[in-house]
């Protein structure tokens, strides 16, 4: 049986891992290569690296980080943040990344998804969607944000998810802007709405504060994988504890 994946996320800026609340107010959380090796030993199923500075200098730093990590960590590595072209993607893949995640660049230029999928395969292209709740009648709705959550686009998140998959995305990384960094749980309605709308795997992101939250995202949220940062970086829980908790509740995980 395919297991559910637990994915620590490393937000990197100036070569350091940081974590914020609703995408701002950053705290230092350590060296990316050291943290990556630590999570690998703990049994993380994949790792995601996001260059949240998304500057050209940050990209160069990230290439070095990915090269160092891929020499000692033998699980899939997803890298994103500021990648705008097939050339940028190739650089990260050659450095040792297995998947590329694109967000703002995909919204501004949806053809980039297809270009990446054609050159490197759909399995390589993870489209990240930052979504914020819109108060509008009884039915929940979300709009897509770009530029690290700073810019509302007016685009409906569910519709964008479908379009991204049609264009060639092999996986979606769905982050709730409202929940991110608050530790009060994932936006389960958002995750399940997107998971039901597409045929590719969905990673739930934003809001994990307890192991119960991970469980909720995988069951009520219908996610295929859960991504979390703070609860692992600050050692509130270990990956092993998370897997034990989920396993006891009947969720298949890799042990």
């Amino acid at each position: 049986m395919l297991t559910k994946r637990i994915i620590p996320c490393l937000d990197v800026t100036n070569g350091r891992v940081v974590k914020g609340i609703s995408f701002t107010d950053l705290r230092d959380a350590g060296d990316p290569a050291e943290l990556a090796a630590f999570y690998y030993r703990e049994g993380a199923d994949e790792l995601v690296f996001l260059d949240i500075g998304a500057t050209p200098e940050g990209r160069d730093t990230m290439v070095g980080v990915v090269e160092r990590v891929s020499e000692q960590v033998f699980i899939p590595l997803t890298v994103g943040g500021g990648l705008r072209s097939a050339h940028d993607m190739r650089r990260m893949l050659e450095a040792g990344a297995d998947k590329i995640t694109i967000n703002t660049a995909a919204v501004l230029n949806p053809e980039l998804i297809g270009q990446g999928a054609k050159r490197f395969g759909s399995q390589c292209i993870v489209v990240a969607i930052d979504a914020r709740r819109v108060r509008d009648g009884d039915l929940p709705r979300w709009q897509v944000l770009t530029h690290g959550g700073r810019r509302p686009t007016g685009i409906d998140a569910i519709q964008w998810a479908r379009q991204a998959v049609d264009l060639g995305a092999g996986e979606l990384l769905v982050t709730s802007w409202d929940a991110d960094g608050h530790g009060t749980g994932y936006d389960l309605e958002l995750t399940s709405a997107i998971s039901e709308a597409v045929t590719v795997p969905v990673i739930a992101s934003g809001g994990a504060g307890s192991l119960e939250h991970l469980h909720q995202a995988l069951v009520a949220g219908k996610a295929d994988a859960v991504l979390a940062a703070s609860i692992f970086h600050y050692r509130t829980y270990s990956i092993c504890q998370a897997k034990e908790y989920l396993s006891e509740r009947g969720i298949p995980v890799r042990r």
């Binding site: 050659e94 395969g121 795997p201």
Partner: protein, 206 residues
């Protein structure tokens, strides 16, 4: 020396990193002479089978792979590298492949999320040194939308369930192939490569 076959696609760096971690020397090469001169070869693979076949043919590597297999030389094929060994694939319409192994590469059944992406168990169907130190039903990392369906059941060494029971480890003589990515499958993935290389290098010395 271990040759990692470079045909302009595939995650060659991850494979090279894994082999380095195991303490073996490897070269990433697109030179037929290098591949034929190596103690063992690895054929990596990611992406689409038709593109992979096209690159292998264009680089002259299809003939090299056929020669390695016909001479019984140690070859490890990964993911799409495994799929292109078969007669043909349904991916993107019908495309003929290397035809070293009779069988067809088919699309995974809908009903599950596709691609099949993540860690899944391998049931060991044979006792073989390739599984040395690896428990039955250990998890390996998969990412694919098509799977190989061999005609000859005797080559099936391991199977994995995802809508269908598919061949996830294949062994024929010195040829080993896996649908999963050993270089992305943690310590057990490294162990599979180590077991393959041990057999290959022992054989070379004997």
């Amino acid at each position: 020396m271990i040759a990692i076959i470079d045909y302009g696609a595939g995650n060659v760096r991850s494979v090279a990193n894994a082999i380095a971690k195991l303490g073996h020397e490897s070269m990433v090469t697109s030179n037929p002479g290098d591949v034929l001169g190596a103690a063992a070869a690895i054929l990596p693979g990611v992406g689409a089978a038709a593109d992979t076949m096209h690159s292998l043919t264009k680089s002259g590597m299809s003939e090299v792979i056929r020669q390695l297999i016909s001479e019984g030389r140690p070859l490890f094929a990964v993911c799409v590298g495994m799929q292109v060994l078969f007669s043909g694939t349904e991916e993107g319409g019908w495309h003929e492949c290397l035809g070293v192994l009779p069988g067809t590469v088919r699309r995974l059944r809908s009903g599950n999320k596709i691609p099949h992406m993540g860690w899944n168990q391998v049931k060991q169907r044979v006792v073989h040194p390739i599984f040395g130190g690896i428990p039955d039903e250990a998890n390996f990392y998969f990412v694919h939308s098509y799977y190989a369906d061999p005609q000859d059941a005797s080559v099936v060494a391991g199977t994995t369930d995802y809508g269908v029971s598919m061949c996830s480890v294949l062994i024929r003589g010195s040829l080993v192939a896996t649908q999963f990515h050993p270089e992305k499958s943690g310590e057990y993935g490294l162990r599979i490569y180590a077991n393959f290389l041990k057999t290959a290098l022992d054989r070379k010395q004997a």
